[in-house]
């Protein structure tokens, strides 16, 4: 069988999956947990607790602040210390709720047993019920973008969902959280997929996994056959060629079902696909079957110079410093601390930034590994054009942004850029292509928005 992949561009970066075989450990409880109110795309959540309130694990501490928003739950038990601001992954001070941890008392509604709950025993689960439980549990996309999951499951009337695609690609170097989750909770993930298919009212599912994770492909193929053979659902595990940015939603849809999502504002469901991260499928299982809101996640803590890199089940709100200490402490010298992987992760200004819903990895690169070289003149080698997975011309967009030609930027489809960084990764002249394109893209999007507002 020909191994599938997406059709345009892409690169191959060094994998550095240092923690591939490191079984997940449960991270220690923090002394103080910090909950940013903006952990998802959309409006920030609104606090519903006050200073001095007692909370348990799983207590709602902030409600959704709009339609595109998600509630936030405490991951610890203790007392609300204050509602304040703290530096988050953006580098700015943002509103947060800080809770002093006392003991570990859980809300009684949460089913803490390990028993696998199957859909068959829960006739009350209608599509509407599933979507509402997912919404109420604050589940968002766990791959990093953090788009509220319930919205993806209720597509606009103009689009019709045909399948659910589970994103188990994990194409970013270093990160292994999704892989470990698959190896350790395959059954739960498949129930999660079943729930997602029920909610989206489809019977076809795919799980896309890159072939550098043969163990996961084998395990899930076996489990899928056991679970879905003879059922109303058709689920296929799709091995994918190793190529970045295959975990990008549009690239994954193209790779798995050979359909290309048109330019924004089109979304995957316009070509019939609902894409959910494998971590999200697990969160959906826990939310729907175990009544457990989203307050902990799998996170990889990694870096070549870390003493003991590992995978952790972390309560959200845990400062990264705690995890780094659990891995042997911050390496000597200058470092780059990333929320996410080296291709798309955000460089952080502080080790006190907490783990949030979308933090799939804490990656520590040494200065040597991450230092940019001095840019040289473009030699027009066309390698950026060749690797761009969106069929754009990065050299041109970067230049047009540099000279602030926003009109032409828009005409050259700058808003299609998914900011994967393949161009800059490849550029032999070390040009800061994506820096410039980002500037152009955000400016052009601003222009488009203000034009729409005038109409």
């Amino acid at each position: 069988m020909k191994i599938r992949t997406f059709s345009i561009g892409g690169i191959h970066a060094d994998e550095n999956k240092l923690t591939h075989d490191v079984a997940t450990k449960v991270a220690a409880l923090p002394k103080q947990a910090i909950f940013p109110l903006s952990q998802h795309i959309g409006a920030p959540a609104k606090p519903v607790v006050q200073k001095g309130d007692k909370v348990k694990v799983g207590t709602l501490i902030a409600e959704a602040g709009g339609f595109v928003s998600a509630p936030i739950f405490s991951s610890v038990s203790g007392t609300v210390f204050k509602i304040d601001t703290a530096i988050d992954a953006t580098g700015y001070r943002k509103p947060v709720i800080i809770i002093n941890v006392e003991g570990d008392e859980w809300e009684e509604s949460i089913d803490r047993s390990d028993k696998l709950e199957n859909v068959e025993n829960h006739p009350e689960l209608t599509p509407e019920e599933i979507v509402s439980r997912i919404k109420d549990a604050g589940v968002v996309g766990m791959g990093g973008a953090c788009f509220p999951t319930f919205i993806k499951l209720t597509p606009p009337p103009t689009a019709k969902a045909e399948c659910v695609i589970i994103n188990a690609v994990e194409c970013e170097p270093y990160i292994t959280a999704d892989f470990r989750l698959m190896m350790e909770h395959a059954d739960e993930i498949l129930v999660g997929l079943e729930l997602l298919m029920m909610a989206a009212k489809v019977t076809t599912g795919y799980i896309g996994i890159e072939i550098n994770k043969p163990a996961a492909i084998e395990l899930l193929t076996k489990k899928c056959a056991e679970k879905f053979n003879g059922s109303a659902y058709t689920v296929e595990v799709v091995p994918l060629k190793q190529r970045y940015p295959q975990g990008g939603e549009k690239q994954l849809v193209d790779a798995v079902i050979h359909r290309q999502v048109p330019a924004p504002p089109a979304i995957p469901v316009n070509v019939g696909a609902i894409v959910q991260n494998v971590g999200t499928a697990f969160a959906v299982y826990e939310a729907v079957m175990k009544h457990k809101p989203l307050f902990e996640r799998y996170t990889t803590v990694t870096g070549k110079r870390l003493e003991n890199p590992g995978n952790f089940l972390v309560r959200m709100g845990t400062p990264m410093q705690d995890l780094i200490d659990a891995c042997g402490g911050m390496p000597e010298g200058d470092n780059k601390l990333l929320a996410g992987g080296p291709m798309m992760g955000k460089a952080l200004t502080s080790t006190e930034v907490p783990i949030c819903k979308g933090t799939n990895s804490v990656t520590i690169l040494s200065d040597d590994e991450a230092r940019r070289k001095e840019p040289e003149p473009c030699i027009r080698c066309a390698k950026c054009v060749l690797v761009c997975p969106m069929g754009l011309e990065p050299y041109l967009l970067a230049k047009l942004s540099e000279v602030k030609n926003w009109e032409r930027c828009e005409r050259e489809d700058i808003v299609n850029c998914i900011e994967c960084g393949s161009c800059q990764f490849t550029c032999p002249a070390y040009r800061p292509l994506l820096d410039n394109i980002r500037l152009g893209k955000s400016t052009v999007m601003g222009i488009i928005r203000s034009r729409a507002a005038k109409k």
Partner: protein
């Protein structure tokens, strides 16, 4: 604890570099260079050494004294490539002073006056060759025979396969073509008579270079294949129409076609940025080459065809776009 460093993603780089690509091209040129030395001996060594040294000197001197750049661009390897390619376009009995003028044109006029690597419109080595061809037509069109190991300026010259083809077409006499060496001799470069410019001699060695550059992903197949394919088809049709036009295989193996298609037209700076643009560029070069060869004043059209298409490259870049992801057919 040290500092935390902050910058935008991506945080890693793929270890590509300008130098890596340039030195890759130089390695790819080595088989052709060795073949040249083997067939032309002393003269070719002198011409190559002079050309490379002169190009490097002009690059360094202009960078340092005229452009006053902080970092000298000599070490990026592009001047060495220009020097090698310029030499490959010259006869092996060319006097040193003419080579120096060619190198000054290539580096000084065609490259550095536009701002250096990445900014030039025309292929520097070809500009050097074109300038010499116009200024010194006699010296630039007498071609030594191969196998004269220890000769330089006094090498015996003769008619090249291209001039044989040119006579045949001009006289409308297909029997003249019988003087052409066999395709196999043309392929490996072993033929009596004048042998043309130094680097063109051995198609086999040039193809080794192509294979290396494709394997190392220094270039893609689009430009060489579209040029060679177009030449093959166009000259094949002409050959079918009238026997005074040589068979397409001989056309592919004579003159600077291989050298041009593999090393000159694929120059990063002066060729289009998109695969589709590169195909258009290659097809046009192939087409123009045959037009000039068969109906122009010069027996060889490759270098002019490439220079003409260099001029069209900005236009091609402007109008030929890659297929956008998710583009709906309009």
């Amino acid at each position: 604890m040290g500092k935390l460093i902050v910058s935008l993603s991506p945080h890693v780089h793929g270890r590509q570099s300008v130098e890596r690509n340039m030195y890759g091209v130089i390695i790819a040129l080595m088989p052709a260079m060795l073949a040249t030395f083997y067939f032309f001996g002393l003269g070719s060594v002198i011409v190559t050494a002079t050309s490379v040294a002169a190009c490097c000197f002009f690059e360094w001197a202009i960078c340092k004294y005229i452009l006053k750049k902080k970092e000298n661009t000599l070490l990026d390897g592009s001047a060495v490539i220009t020097g090698l390619l310029l030499a490959f376009n010259l006869p092996s009995n060319l006097p040193i002073w003419i080579i120096l003028i060619g190198a000054l044109f290539a580096i000084g006029v065609a490259k550095m006056s536009f701002g250096g690597l990445g900014h030039n419109i025309f292929n520097p080595a070809l500009v050097g060759r074109a300038a010499l061809l116009v200024a010194f037509p006699a010296q630039m069109t007498t071609w030594p025979k191969i196998g004269q190991w220890d000769t330089y300026l006094d090498a015996e010259t003769g008619a090249t396969p291209l001039s044989i083809i040119n006579w045949a077409i001009r006289n409308g006499d297909a029997t003249i073509l019988e003087q052409l060496p066999s395709s196999f001799d043309l392929f490996i470069g072993n033929h009596s008579g004048g042998a043309g410019a130094m680097g063109e001699i051995c198609a086999l060695a040039l193809l080794f270079g192509l294979a290396f550059m494709l394997y190392e992903k220094i270039i893609t197949w689009h430009i060489p294949v579209s040029i060679l394919g177009t030449v093959f088809v166009f000259s094949g049709l002409l050959h079918l129409a009238s026997p005074i036009y040589p068979d397409p295989l001989s056309v592919l193996l004579t003159g600077g076609l291989m050298l041009g298609a593999i090393f000159m037209a694929t120059d990063y700076v002066t060729s289009p940025m998109t695969p589709r643009g590169q195909l258009i560029y290659g097809v046009c070069i192939g087409f123009l080459t045959i037009l000039i060869r068969n109906w122009g004043a010069y027996p060889e059209g490759m270098s002019f065809a490439i220079l003409i298409m260099n001029a069209f490259t900005p236009l091609i870049n402007n109008y030929v776009k890659p297929k956008r992801f998710g583009e709906v057919a309009k």
